[in-house]
C-alpha cells in the first residue's frame, strides 16, 4: 500500500500521456483528411514532399504561426485559404499531420540516387 501514492501519480501521468497521444493521433488523422480534402496534396503531394507545383511542407514543417499566416493571407502562387474554407481547428490538425510525417530515408543510403 505504501507504494500506492507514488503509483497513482505515475499512473495518472501515463494515462494523461496516453490520452494526449491518442488526441494527437486523432488530430493527425483528421489533419490528413483535411490535407486531402482541401486539395493541399494536389501541389504538395500526400506526404507534403513538394514538387513542381508546390514546395516541400514536411518533414520539419515551418513554425505554425508562419505556416498559418501564409495559408490565410498568401498573395503568392498558392491561393489563400480563409476560415470559411479551412477552419482554425482543421488548420491546427493539418499542422499536426505535417508534424507527424516521418523523415524519409537518407539519400546517401538510396543506391538509385548514388549511381
Amino acid at each position: 500500500m505504501r507504494g500506492a501514492p507514488y503509483l497513482a501519480p505515475a499512473g495518472l501521468a501515463a494515462g494523461l500521456f496516453l490520452e494526449q497521444g491518442a488526441a494527437l493521433a486523432a488530430s493527425a488523422e483528421n489533419g490528413k483528411q483535411v490535407f486531402m480534402r482541401a486539395g493541399c496534396w494536389q501541389c504538395h503531394g500526400t506526404l507534403g514532399q513538394g514538387g513542381a507545383a508546390g514546395p516541400k511542407l514536411a518533414p520539419d514543417p515551418l513554425p505554425f504561426d508562419a505556416l498559418s499566416s501564409f495559408v490565410r493571407t498568401t498573395n503568392r502562387a498558392m491561393p489563400p485559404y480563409r476560415e470559411e474554407v479551412l477552419s482554425d481547428a482543421d488548420l491546427a490538425d493539418l499542422y499536426v499531420y505535417l508534424q507527424s510525417i516521418p523523415k524519409g530515408p537518407d539519400p546517401k543510403t538510396i543506391p538509385l540516387l548514388n549511381r
Binding site: 486539395g39 494536389q42 503531394g45 500526400t46 507545383a53 491561393p79 470559411e84 539519400p107 538509385l112
Partner: protein, 596 residues
C-alpha cells in the same frame, strides 16, 4: 537554276501524285483511311508499293498528326498525313495547332470533293467544303487547293519547302477527289516534278549580332534562356559554345533539348533567381518572353486580372533572337503578351549562333576574362549543390504510396541508363528526369506539345519511337493517364506496326491542373470545393471506376503490367518490360503515382 526532274509517264492522276510524293523521301504516312482520298490511297499502296511512304493505320486523325509531330522531333524529317474531308480535318485540327505552336512541320493532305455537280450525293457531300483549308488556315504556314496535276506538283513541293523553312510549321493541301481519279490527258500539258531545294534559314542582322555580343561580353551577370533554340544536335553544341565563351548560366525552358543537364552551366532550376539578378538576358526562340521576365499571380487581385510583377531588376538589357517574329497571325493568341526588348532579331537562333559566338569571342575585353572565369567557377559549385539538393528532395517521399514521381523516375532511370535511350514524352513529373537523369544527347528529351493540347503525349511518343526504331534507340515514355484517354487507339497502331516503346504510366487519377484551378476559384469565393465521392473537385477526377490501363494496353496488343502501387515492385517489373521492348514490342507498365 536547279534542273527539273523528267516528265512522269503514267495513266492515272493519283499515280502522278505518288511520284511527286516519292521525290520528297517520306518514310511513313500515318493516316485514318477515308473515301475522300481513296484515289491517292490506292495509288500509294499499289502503284507506289506502300514504300516511302509506308501507310500506318491510325484510329484518329489527331493521333496521325501527333505521330508526325513526335516523329519529326526525333528524326528531323517530316511526315505526310491524309485527312478525310471536313470531319477528318476537324479531328486533326487540335494536333495541327500543337504542331503550329511547337514550330514543327507536318504535311497535311485533306481529301474533298469540289465538284458539286458530279460528286456523289449523301456522305461525300457532307464531307466536302468549298474552302476546307479555312478550318486550319489560322494555324498553318500555307495551304492550297490544286486544280490540276501540275498545280498539285508545284503546290506539294512548295508546301514542303515552306513547312521546312524556319520558322517551321504545318501546311495543308486540299486534294480534290475528282483530280485524284482523273486520268492524265494523253495530249495535254507535259507534267513535271519540281525539284526540292532547301531554303537557308534566316540569320540575324550583322549589326544586331555585334551589338548583342558587345552587351553579353560586358555583362556582369548575363543569362541565356533557351526554349526552341536547338533545331538539331548541332544547335545544342552551338549553345554550349556560346555559354562557355561567356561562362553564362543557361536556363532551358525545354521546348527542345537545348543544353546538356550534365554541364555545369545548366542552371534551369535556379532560373527565376538568375533572371532576377541578370543585367543582360539573351532569349533564344522563347515561346513566351513576357512570361520569362515577369511573374503572374492568379489570386484575383486587381479585379480578377491577377498580379503582374517584373522578375528582372531595373536596367536589364533584353535581347531576343526568334524566327517566330517572322510568322505571326492574328486569330489564335499563341504569340503571348507583348514584351519590349532592347535588341530583337527576327531570325532563326540556331542559324545565327555561329556568327554570334565569333562576335562574342571578339568582343570580350582581355581585362574581363578573369572575371568571366570566376563566374564559371561559382556556377560549377552551384550546379553541384543543385544536384545534391535534388537528391535530398527525391528521397523525401521515397517509400510513399501512391508512388512518388521521383521514385518512379529513378527506378526507370536505373533500367535504361546504360542503353541508348530517348525520352519521347515526359508527362508532368516535377521535372525529375531533367533534374536527375544524365541528358546530353539531342534525342534525350523531345519537349512538349507546343499548344498544350492534351492528348499529344501518347501519339507523339509512338511517332518518336518510330523514328528511334530506325536508329536502334530505346524509346521510353512517361505517360499521363488523362492524356492517354483522349485517343488510346494509337496503342493499337504501335502494336500493329511493331513500334517498340516502353510506356510507364504516371497514373495520378485526375486532371490535376484543372483540379487546382477549381480549388483556386473555390477559395477565391470562400466556398469548400465539392469533391463528390472523389479525391478531386467534381469533374476533374479519373476514378470510380479506375481505368485499368494494363488491360487496355493488353487488349490492343501490348505487353503490360500493373497497376503497381508498391514502389518496391517497380524494379522487377520495369526490368522485364525493358526486355520486351528490346525484343521489338511495345510495353506498358501502369503505376499509381502522386499528382506531380
Amino acid at each position: 537554276m536547279p534542273k527539273e526532274l523528267p516528265r512522269a509517264h503514267m495513266a492515272d492522276g493519283a499515280d502522278f501524285m505518288v511520284d511527286v510524293i516519292k521525290t520528297l523521301d517520306f518514310e511513313y504516312l500515318p493516316a485514318n483511311p477515308a473515301s475522300s482520298f481513296r484515289g491517292l490511297h490506292e495509288s500509294l499502296i499499289d502503284y507506289g508499293g506502300n514504300k516511302k511512304p509506308e501507310f500506318l493505320t491510325c484510329m484518329h486523325e489527331e493521333s496521325a498528326v501527333a505521330m508526325a509531330h513526335g516523329y519529326f522531333k526525333a528524326a528531323g524529317k517530316p511526315l505526310l498525313t491524309l485527312c478525310h474531308g471536313t470531319v477528318g480535318l476537324q479531328h486533326a485540327a487540335m494536333a495541327i495547332y500543337n504542331a503550329w505552336c511547337d514550330r514543327v512541320p507536318v504535311i497535311v493532305v485533306g481529301g474533298t470533293d469540289l465538284d458539286a455537280a458530279h460528286r456523289p450525293p449523301g456522305v461525300p457531300t457532307v464531307h466536302s467544303a468549298q474552302d476546307i483549308n479555312a478550318l486550319v488556315r489560322d494555324f498553318t504556314k500555307w495551304d492550297d487547293t490544286p486544280v490540276s496535276l501540275q498545280h498539285f506538283a508545284q503546290s506539294f513541293v512548295r508546301a514542303y519547302k515552306i513547312a521546312m523553312t524556319p520558322p517551321m510549321g504545318p501546311v495543308a493541301i486540299a486534294l480534290d477527289g475528282g483530280l485524284q481519279q482523273a486520268p492524265i490527258p494523253e495530249n495535254g500539258e507535259r507534267l513535271y516534278i519540281p525539284r526540292y531545294v532547301a531554303t537557308s534559314p534566316p540569320q540575324g542582322d550583322g549589326g544586331a549580332v555585334r551589338e548583342t555580343a558587345r552587351l553579353l561580353a560586358n555583362a556582369e551577370r548575363p543569362v541565356i534562356v533557351v526554349d526552341r533554340a536547338a533545331r538539331s544536335a548541332d544547335g545544342m553544341k552551338l549553345i554550349v559554345q556560346l555559354a562557355e565563351a561567356l561562362q553564362a548560366p543557361v536556363v532551358d525552358q525545354g521546348g527542345r533539348m537545348n543544353f546538356p543537364n550534365t554541364h555545369y552551366l545548366h542552371q534551369s532550376r535556379r532560373g527565376n533567381a538568375l533572371i532576377g539578378q541578370a543585367d543582360v538576358i539573351l532569349g533564344l526562340e522563347l515561346a513566351d518572353y513576357w512570361g520569362t521576365v515577369n511573374s503572374f499571380i492568379d489570386n484575383g487581385e486587381e479585379d480578377g486580372a491577377g498580379l503582374r510583377e517584373p522578375r528582372t531588376k531595373n536596367g536589364v538589357k533584353l535581347i531576343s533572337i526568334s524566327s517566330a517574329a517572322l510568322l505571326t497571325k492574328s486569330n489564335y493568341q499563341e504569340f503571348q503578351r507583348f514584351q519590349v526588348v532592347d535588341v530583337e532579331m527576327a531570325a532563326d537562333a540556331e542559324a545565327t549562333l555561329p556568327a554570334l559566338i565569333e562576335a562574342v569571342k571578339a568582343a570580350i575585353p582581355n581585362d574581363r576574362k578573369p572575371a568571366i572565369e570566376k563566374r564559371g567557377e561559382a556556377l560549377r559549385k552551384a550546379w553541384a549543390d543543385g544536384r545534391e539538393r535534388a537528391k535530398d528532395a527525391a528521397a523525401v517521399a521515397w517509400d510513399a504510396s501512391p508512388i512518388s514521381t521521383a521514385r518512379l523516375s529513378m527506378e526507370l532511370w536505373a533500367q535504361i541508363k546504360d542503353l541508348d535511350w530517348s525520352l519521347v514524352s515526359s508527362g508532368n513529373v516535377s521535372n525529375w528526369p531533367k533534374r536527375l537523369w544524365a541528358m546530353d544527347r539531342y534525342y534525350h528529351s523531345l519537349g512538349g506539345p507546343g499548344g498544350y493540347g492534351v492528348g499529344y503525349g501518347a501519339p507523339a511518343a509512338v511517332g518518336a519511337a518510330l523514328a528511334n526504331r530506325a536508329e536502334g534507340r530505346f524509346s521510353v515514355s512517361i505517360q499521363s493517364d488523362g492524356d492517354l484517354m483522349y485517343a488510346p487507339g494509337v496503342l493499337w497502331t504501335a502494336s500493329r506496326h511493331r513500334i517498340p516503346l516502353l510506356s510507364v504510366m504516371h497514373n495520378n487519377h485526375a486532371y490535376h491542373q484543372e483540379a487546382m484551378h477549381v480549388q483556386r476559384l473555390a477559395n477565391r469565393r470562400d466556398r469548400v470545393a465539392n469533391l463528390g465521392k472523389d479525391m478531386c473537385p467534381v469533374g476533374t477526377a479519373i476514378e470510380n471506376p479506375d481505368p485499368d490501363y494494363a488491360k487496355l494496353a493488353a487488349s490492343l496488343g501490348w505487353w503490360s503490367a500493373g497497376p503497381i502501387k508498391d514502389p518496391n515492385e517497380l524494379a522487377g517489373t520495369l526490368e522485364y518490360a525493358v526486355e520486351v521492348v528490346k525484343a521489338g514490342e511495345p510495353a506498358l507498365v501502369d503505376v499509381w503515382t502522386q499528382p506531380r
